[in-house]
Structure formats: structure tokens, C-alpha cells
Symmetry: C2
Subunit: 235 residues, 2 copies
């Protein structure tokens, strides 16, 4: 009993800090995406492809969440200036980013100048679904070699996503992955989800994904009174 | 502070139940393996390959841990009789099996007749490393499409493994995965770990993995006074 109460209090406190984060982001005109996946599905590669495609249009910042190591943030830092690494290994929650970690990362960012914040969560299909960070959209990356049964096996994270990016479609000849069956299972859980088929290796499908991102960013600005600043970085 | 205390109490209670589980397994001459990996790395396929190779030598039972769905246990049930499914979705810990769940599963198994128990943990490279289940050996499956940086990014689970199975080696022509660099990083964390390169699709390497399993089972019997029964199922 005691544990359940503590967990509920933690989640309530997290939601409160997440709401504060979102308010801060809105006030500064920053649109934030929480990118989640199993280890090795391609979150960092998707971020790199997104930066390559959008960095001339928008100023992009990145928060890199990892249990250990700075491997991903090193890859990203060569492409954009504003990268903050969060290493969760010795924190109270090590299996996901939580709002409090993101709050401290935001303090180290020039939010006034940033238009798009990409948050790479810890590689995990379970814990991150429970913790809001203050993001405007939640994205799950699922890759072909993982198998097409993932929406059924990890339903919570898929049910709650605004978009699912099916990555590594270039593996289609080498794996047994039924894209229709994956999409059908996903739509049963989440009828409104946007679905993209991409390969971060070949670049296929990235344009559609980035168009969605820009459309959602604009839609979010129209809904939020604070998010009305023009696309920063566009001169 | 309060949360850290609660977490420590949970881990202490878990260790106590795990020790009870191991004693029960020892008394019944059952050798248990805890198989952990990221989602989609191939735990179920490794279990199916192991059953195919060893079922004429040993009576094998399986515990299938999943957040949701019975997809994996259905695949396994066609091969062995003794399969118990644990679905963690609505439990206090959903991101890993814990000793208490295994304890209840063991009550439903004919332990006297079982020689080898394969426990498939929830697909996750973080939470399962914290919870002992009562197993005799811990095995991590890591697959080529996930990338060769996983030991550095998820060090705790790799540091604590008795064996690491590198699965999907048939993907070598299609992915950038440096097997030597993976093995070197792994050996820095865990110098004594046994490493196997396998493909559960083609069957390559499965024989070496199964030989190790049999050797460890015999070694464990020699060390444990209770694990002295002959290989069950061998007539």
C-alpha cells in the first residue's frame, strides 16, 4: 500500500513540474517533442536526420537522456550548439527522463532563441510512458528488426503517442515484419496517431516526418497564445 | 528521501524472496536462467532454439514475462508443456519481473520433474538488472540491429551478466556493428562473462550456447548439495 501511495505522489509531483516546464516553453515560443523507443530503434539517428532537414529553417535544441555514456550527445553536438546531456544512472529514476530533470536542463538553454526542442528519452518502452516532461507531442520510434508485435506487447506507450515513426524500413527484405499488421494493431490502440515509415539510414520518409513536425508546430502556436513568435531562425 | 527508503526496502524484500525462490529451485533440482534484453532482441527465439536443441535431454519449463499480451507464451507453449505467463501491466512493478511474481509462478509448476527453467524477463535493459528472481545464471541477449554501443549505454545489466548472447549475427552484412568493439567494451565491464554469437533464425552458434548451458547446469549441481539429481528426462 505504502509503495503505491508513494508512486502516486511521485507521478502527481511530476505532472506538476511537467506543466511548469510546458508553461516555460510556451512563454519562450519553444515547441517540444518527447522521443521514446526501445534501445537501438534509432532515436538519435532520427534527431540527426531532423536537424539536417530543418536546421536552416528553425533553431533546434536537443536534450539527450541516457542511463550512462555521452555517446549520443557527442553525435548530436557536432550538428547543433544547444545540447544538454542528462545521465540518469545515479538518479532516483534511472529508466526514464522525468520532468524535474528536464526542468534543470531547460535552465541551461537559451530558450528565447530556440524554436524546436527535441528530447531524446532513455531507451525503454515502459517507464517513459508514465512521466510527462512538459512536451507538446509524444513520438515513439519502432524499428523493423524489433518485430511487428510491439504495439500489442507495450500498449501504453503506443496508445499515448501523437506519432509513431517506423524506422529501418530498408530492412524489409531481411526481416519478417508485416507493416499492415503493425499499423492495424497500432490504430486499434490509438486511432488518431500519425504514422511514418522512414529509414534514417537512406533518408526515405524523413521529409514526410519533418512536414508533420512543422505542421504540428504551427498548429500548436495557433492554439497557444504564447507560441505566437514567428519561426525563429527564418530570416 | 522517503522514496529512496521505500525503494531500498523493496529491493531488500525482493532479495529475500529471490533467495527463497532459489532454495526452492535447489531443493527440487531445477537450474534457472533469467533471460533479459531490449524489446525485440530475440529472447523468445533463443528460448525456442534452446528447447529444440535440449528438450530430448532435459525437461524444460518456461516463465514468460510481458507487460501485456500472451504472444510469446503462445509461441513457447507449442513446444513445451510447462509455461507460466506473467503479465506485469497492472502490477506494482510493470517494467521488470520481480521475485514475488516468480514465486507465485513456481507454485504452478511441477518443479520435481523440471531440470531447466528458462525465465523470459520483460523487454527492458534497465529495470530487470535491479531485481534478482532466484535464478542461477543471468543472461543478456543483445542483437546486431540495436548497435554495438549497448554495453556502454546500459552498463549495469551487462556488468552483472554471466553470459551475453549476441543475436542476429546474420544481419552483419546489413548493419554497422563492430563485434570486436562490442566484446571489448563488454569485457571492460565484465571480464569473466561468456559471450556467444548466434542467429536464432539460421541456428548458427546455438550449439555453443547450449553446451555452455549444460556445463553450467552440471557445475551448479556439483556446488549445490540439493542439485544432485541426475539429468531429468534422460532415460
Amino acid at each position: 500500500m505504502k509503495k503505491i501511495e508513494v508512486v502516486q505522489n511521485i507521478l502527481k509531483a511530476n505532472d506538476y513540474i511537467a506543466a511548469q516546464n510546458q508553461q516555460l516553453l510556451n512563454e519562450n515560443g519553444v515547441f517540444a517533442i518527447n522521443i521514446m523507443s526501445a534501445p537501438g530503434a534509432g532515436k538519435t539517428s532520427l534527431i540527426l536526420q531532423t536537424i539536417a532537414r530543418l536546421k536552416n529553417k528553425l533553431r533546434i535544441a536537443v536534450i539527450e537522456g541516457d542511463v550512462a555514456s555521452t555517446l549520443d550527445s557527442e553525435r548530436v553536438r557536432s550538428e547543433v550548439t544547444d545540447v544538454v546531456q542528462i545521465t540518469t544512472r545515479n538518479m532516483s529514476e534511472s529508466c526514464t527522463l522525468i520532468a524535474n530533470m528536464v526542468s534543470r536542463a531547460l535552465e541551461r538553454m537559451p530558450l528565447r532563441d530556440v524554436a524546436l526542442l527535441l528530447i531524446e528519452n532513455v531507451g525503454n518502452l515502459i517507464c517513459p510512458s508514465e512521466f510527462a516532461l512538459g512536451e507538446h507531442r509524444r513520438v515513439v520510434v519502432s524499428s523493423l528488426p524489433e518485430g511487428d508485435d510491439k504495439p500489442m506487447k507495450y500498449p501504453v506507450i503506443f496508445a499515448d503517442a501523437d506519432a509513431v515513426v517506423i524506422n529501418k524500413v530498408d530492412f524489409l527484405p531481411y526481416v519478417e515484419f508485416d507493416i499492415s499488421s503493425f499499423q492495424n494493431a497500432l490504430r486499434v490502440l490509438n486511432p488518431k496517431v500519425a504514422i511514418f515509415q522512414v529509414s534514417c539510414k537512406t533518408g526515405i520518409g524523413i521529409e514526410n516526418w519533418c512536414s508533420w513536425l512543422l505542421t504540428e508546430l504551427e498548429a500548436s502556436r495557433q492554439r497557444s497564445p504564447h507560441l505566437t513568435s514567428p519561426l525563429k531562425g527564418e530570416e
